[in-house]
Amino acid sequence: MEKHVVVIYPHPDDESFGAAGTIIQYRKQGVPVTYLCGTLGEMGRNMGNPPIANRESLSEIRKEELLEAARVLDMEVEMLGFRDKTLEFEDRTKVATNLKEYLDRIKPSLVITHYPDHAVHPDHHALGAAAIEAVRMMDKSERPVVWAQAISRNYTEVLGKPDVINDVRAEIDTKLDAIYAHKTQAAGVLSQFMQPGFSQEEFKKKVANNFSTEQFYIWKYND
């Protein structure tokens, strides 16, 4: 059994879309989960439909949404305070050192993050790389296992079959609650699954299907 799981992603909602089912499963086993959230998604395009946020109010609203999702998922959350869409321009070692301070304190047995260069958004690549670097900086005997999540269109062609294929169908209702806690984001992101002529039921089924598996690669350190 895991001792403590730390999830490291850059945006409020990455945890709900990407790993909510896995988080719920660990919480059901009584394993503590802490989400280190890199930014407040203050550069997001989705403002709600109709818009309920503007560029200046978005960070405060997304912070509230994140806390609500954390409540739904029954996990702790720490906000790292970087600015959305700028993480790749920060000093990599500085970000990694910052993450390592959290890891040294929390001492997780498992870290979940994005797979650098296969995670579409530049913040995903950058924070994933920094998280992997943070674990590398730890004493070999103290390193947690790292699960890296790829989301690019063709990642299985490039990286092969994921090492961890987590069926989260049993957790899908709570996962969708967590996704919808991100009010300004959910509708905009999910609209890509709407097809002409779809009923509300068909739409829900398509969304549930799409989010019913969570896949990860176990990061291999060469030293």
Binding site: M43, N46, M47, E56, V120, G188
Partner: protein
């Protein structure tokens, strides 16, 4: 935010001619543009807290979509595709262009104090 009101925005701009102000300017089609549609390009530009003085400022309407141009002593700033506006409690002017789904495509913002990080 509310649909753009030309006269109020023009008055706000006129009040700040030849004063030092901070600009936020961005345009984006989203970091996921070419992920969701393989044929799309992901593009964007972003400036936050450029300190400038403008000597002229004008808002222009075209079919309920607006452009705002600021003439600087040694250059220009403009934004196109603006649809909505608000003034914050800190008296910052926020102008934004949203698409049909309410997503932000372009923003031009003016403040007498630096915008928060």
């Amino acid at each position: 935010m509310e649909p753009i009101n030309v006269s109020k925005i023009q008055a706000y701009l006129d009040d700040r001619i030849n004063k030092s102000v901070y600009i936020h300017l961005e345009t984006t089609n989203g970091a996921y543009a070419s992920h969701i549609n393989e044929k799309a390009y992901t593009v964007g530009a972003f400036i936050r807290n450029a300190e400038v003085k403008f000597t002229n400022a004008k808002i222009i309407e075209n079919n309920h979509v607006y452009r705002v141009g600021l003439k600087l002593e040694i250059g220009w700033i403009y934004a196109e595709g603006l649809t909505d506006w608000t003034v914050t409690e800190e008296n910052q002017l926020l102008l934004a262009g949203h698409d049909r789904e309410g997503r932000l495509m372009v923003a031009l913002q003016i403040s007498e104090q630096p915008f928060s990080n």
